[in-house]
């Protein structure tokens, strides 16, 4: 009986195989479509119109000057060793793979920016709160906004100091690019007119590698692979020879060493408040963790970390006390947050989400680095001016983190949802006190310092800062007074950073 059913079934199928075939093909077609390629962004090789040849005289940050780290004189072009290096480039160029070629363009699109991008990706990867109660593991740092600001600052400062030094020696030695010495070498990227010794790319690759593997020891293999490819890409491109790279790498490593000495002494290692001193602070209504299980607040001693800029000038701009919990102003601002939460529009949600930069993201400082990257690419900056821009921005952002955290752990203002549990949010509630808003402080500082360097974008930058600040009210996690005080404090930090920028000897 069963066989009969089956036979009849097969008979049916057989008599209609054409129809079945076409339908099945239709389904296969549906499943065959590939998803679009979301890799990128891809940029073409940069061709800065201004190479900032005076860069070697610009004011350095942690090294004393551009010539503090010594770089040996290069060999003469006629030296047989150099001739051998030229042959190496030629033989490499004779067998370039597709991967080699894409690596050339990838790194030539802006080496400082590519390493900044890598840093942002690693911050995103490590921006994950550890399990409550777990012992801290230094090899898996929690790349929260404060730590992220420090990572970007250390990276940018190291890149900048090392490039000032590189520019100093470039001008001193003036070694022509290999393609100028040997017509058999094809330059596969735009000509820069810079001396090829020491290689600025090797400088950037080496400093970035040293800084990032210090922070993210578990990423050493990945970072080393990136740095090696970066350096080799310069040989493939016909832009450097091996000794250009070696001199650059050595210079970069030495500068990074000095930056890491600074990092070991900046008191960030104390910021997590291992003895929980924050618990002893008494304020009338104190912040409480809203997480289940309760988690200690993020970096209670983050405000004690060493600042990059003049701490007296920064202290002068610190926010005063917030409205007292229960006062008219406090209640008014609390009611405002509740009202937004009760009537939140899709657009308010979008703005909240756009600026949230929470767990698993490059954090608000990373967001501002991305904004800076867009402006830098638009302008086609040289590597050294790119590094200067990011070093000013990231020092300002780290100082913003420090000033904001100092304020947070002075006043311990509760989050809106602690005061009114009916306030529902469009973003995660950060596990630390409300006043002042980190987003507002970061954004005030970033928009101010970037506005100084990109004056024609100043209005738009300030608009973005204001939106970043209000996004936290749209999200339901900050009061208006958090934002106003944060923006003002950030703008002051930006102004202090501008003073440094004005005095660093770089032509406007």
């Amino acid at each position: 009986m069963r066989t009969l059913y089956f036979r009849q079934y097969l008979a049916c199928l057989r008599s209609n195989y054409l129809m079945l075939l076409s339908c099945s093909l239709g389904i296969l077609l549906l499943s065959g479509c590939e998803k679009s390629d979301l890799s990128g962004p891809d940029y073409t090789a940069a061709a800065p119109s201004e190479q900032d040849l005076s860069g070697g005289t610009w004011k350095t940050i942690l090294i004393k000057s551009g010539n503090e780290v010594t770089v040996p004189s290069p060999l003469a072009p006629t030296d047989p060793t150099y001739q051998q290096e030229l042959s190496e480039v030629k033989s490499l160029q004779a067998q370039l793979s597709k991967t080699n070629r894409s690596a050339i363009t990838y790194w030539a699109s802006g080496a400082t920016l590519r390493w900044n991008e890598i840093a942002r990706q690693l911050v995103a990867k490590y921006n994950v709160a550890p399990v409550v109660g777990a012992a801290p593991d230094p090899s898996v740092p929690f790349a929260n906004p404060v730590l992220a600001a420090r990572i970007y600052a250390l990276l940018s400062v190291a890149q900048y100091d090392a490039l000032v030094s590189a520019w100093h020696y470039k001008l001193q030695f003036g070694r022509p690019a290999p393609s100028r010495t040997d017509p058999g070498i094809k330059l596969l990227i735009p000509a820069s007119g810079l001396s090829s010794y020491p290689s600025e790319d090797a400088v950037i690759a080496a400093t970035s590698l040293e800084i990032l593997k210090f922070i993210f020891p578990k990423e050493t293999d990945y970072l080393t692979q990136q740095a090696t490819q970066h350096q080799e890409s310069r040989l493939w491109a016909g832009a450097n020879v091996r000794s250009d790279l070696a001199a650059g790498e050595s210079l970069g490593k030495n500068v990074a060493k000095k930056v890491l000495e600074y990092a070991r002494e900046d008191r960030m290692n104390l910021a997590r408040d291992a003895n929980n001193t924050w618990q002893q602070v008494v304020v009338p209504v104190k912040w409480q963790s809203l997480e289940i299980p309760v988690r200690g607040p993020m970096l209670p001693l983050g405000g004690k970390v060493k600042t990059w800029f003049d701490s007296t000038a920064l202290a002068a701009g610190l926010p005063g006390p917030p409205p007292v919990v229960g006062s008219a102003r406090f209640n008014q601002d609390l009611i405002e947050v509740r009202k937004i939460a009760d009537t939140r529009t899709r657009e308010q949600w979008r703005i909240s989400d756009f600026w949230a930069d929470g767990a698993g993201t490059p954090t608000p400082p990373g967001h501002w680095n991305q904004i800076a990257e867009g402006l830098i690419r638009e302008k086609g900056y040289s590597e050294i001016r790119t590094a200067r821009t990011l070093a000013l921005l990231n020092r300002a952002l780290m100082d913003a983190a420090i000033c904001c955290w100092l304020t947070k752990y002075t006043y311990y203002v509760p989050r809106p949802s602690q005061m009114d549990p009916e306030i529902k949010t469009a973003t995660g509630i950060p596990n630390f006190p409300s006043y002042t808003s980190g987003h507002a402080t970061f954004s005030g500082a970033a928009a101010t310092i970037l506005g100084y360097m990109f004056p024609e974008n100043s209005t738009d930058l300030n608009r973005q800062a204001a939106e970043a600040a209000i996004s936290r009210m749209y999200g339901g996690i900050h009061y208006r007074f958090d934002n106003e005080a944060g923006l003002a404090c950030g703008q002051n930090i930006g102004k202090v950073a501008i003073l440094w920028g004005k005095g660093d000897g770089s032509p406007k």
Partner: protein, 316 residues
């Protein structure tokens, strides 16, 4: 000829192996029954689904900061027989999702409007045994509004989906039936509110599932098998469904929710009875359980529906 026969065998294999499940939402969108020309019915159903345990990748976990996530939905469903061999189906759910703990805002709104066509490719009476039919169905579903998709509490993934499936059903003259179906759902990329950063991939292998404001939503295979009884006044079935997602991400910090590869195995039961003395109206009830899954809640669902069979529009 040899080639065609090979294809034919492949198709048979597809039909037998791909026991086609549907999304619990699409549970009634494409079944093995045809309306017949001029016959229409409309249904309004309410369902309650909840979970306190969910799968991150394949690992089951709970989140005290979300508690239980409950989803209530009110769905409209309509079907009409355009011809004896062609049905058109529409559906539109209104969904509300809320977490019992923490502070994430509830989400509510119309989700995706769906339109399906189902063609009864062939039907064969098999004497006293019953009837065998094979149907093909294709549909599209698309979000009706800009609802929020990239949040722990959300009502959908916000993609536009193209769904193609084959259904085969055998029904005995006494009313017992068994049907299998297999389908493939292709989901469009979605726009995110934020500029999402893909994690670095050592060696640069593969392309990211999301980047910038864009995210893929993994496609999926869908298989199900259903057995039941449909005759006279009652209908009852039991089903087993499996959705298997293509490449995608696991739930994680900063990872857009729409890019998660959602797979699951669910089982469920449903029955339907007409109201006494007024047989145009019927009442349905159903339940479903998530047995296993990836990047999905271990949800249990209960639903009830009110169905109305419209007068045949072919007759005057």
């Amino acid at each position: 000829m040899v080639k065609i026969f090979t294809h034919f065998r492949l198709i048979c294999l597809l039909l037998f192996l791909c026991i086609g499940p549907k999304n619990a939402d699409a549970q009634s969108i494409a079944d093995g029954f045809m309306k017949g020309k001029g016959n229409s019915s409309a249904a309004l159903s309410y369902s309650y689904e909840s979970y306190d345990t969910y799968f991150v990748g394949g690992n089951s976990t709970q989140n005290a900061n979300l508690g239980t996530i409950a989803t209530r939905s009110l769905s409209f469903y309509g079907v009409t027989g355009l011809t004896d061999k062609l049905d058109i189906v529409v559906s539109l759910p209104y969904i509300k999702a809320a977490a019992s703990e923490g502070f994430w805002q509830d989400q509510k709104g119309f989700q995706d409007v769906a339109l399906y066509l189902k063609y009864n490719a062939f039907e064969k009476e098999m004497g006293n045994l019953g009837a065998l039919s094979v149907m093909v169905a294709g549909g599209i579903s698309t979000p009706l509004g800009p609802y929020i998709a990239d949040a722990p509490v959300a009502i959908g993934h916000h993609s536009t989906n193209f769904d193609g499936r084959v259904i085969s059903q055998f029904k005995t003259n006494s009313g017992f039936f068994v049907s299998v179906q297999a389908g493939y759902i292709r989901r469009s990329d979605v726009k995110l509110d934020r500029d999402a950063v893909p994690l670095p991939e050592p060696g640069g292998a593969g392309t990211p599932y999301y980047n910038g404001f864009k995210s893929h939503v993994p496609n999926s295979f869908d298989y199900s098998i259903k057995a039941g009884f449909a005759a006279g006044v009652v209908y009852a079935d039991a089903w087993l469904q499996e959705q298997k997602a293509g490449d995608g991400t696991d739930i994680g910090p900063g990872i857009p929710f729409p890019s998660n590869a959602v797979s699951y195995t669910r089982t469920g039961f449903s029955f339907f009875v007409p109201v006494p003395f007024y047989r145009a109206v019927g009442l349905g009830a159903g339940t479903s359980f998530t047995l296993n899954g990836k990047n999905v809640g271990k949800a249990t669902r209960y639903s009830g529906s009110l169905n109305y069979n419209l007068p045949n529009w072919k007759k005057k």
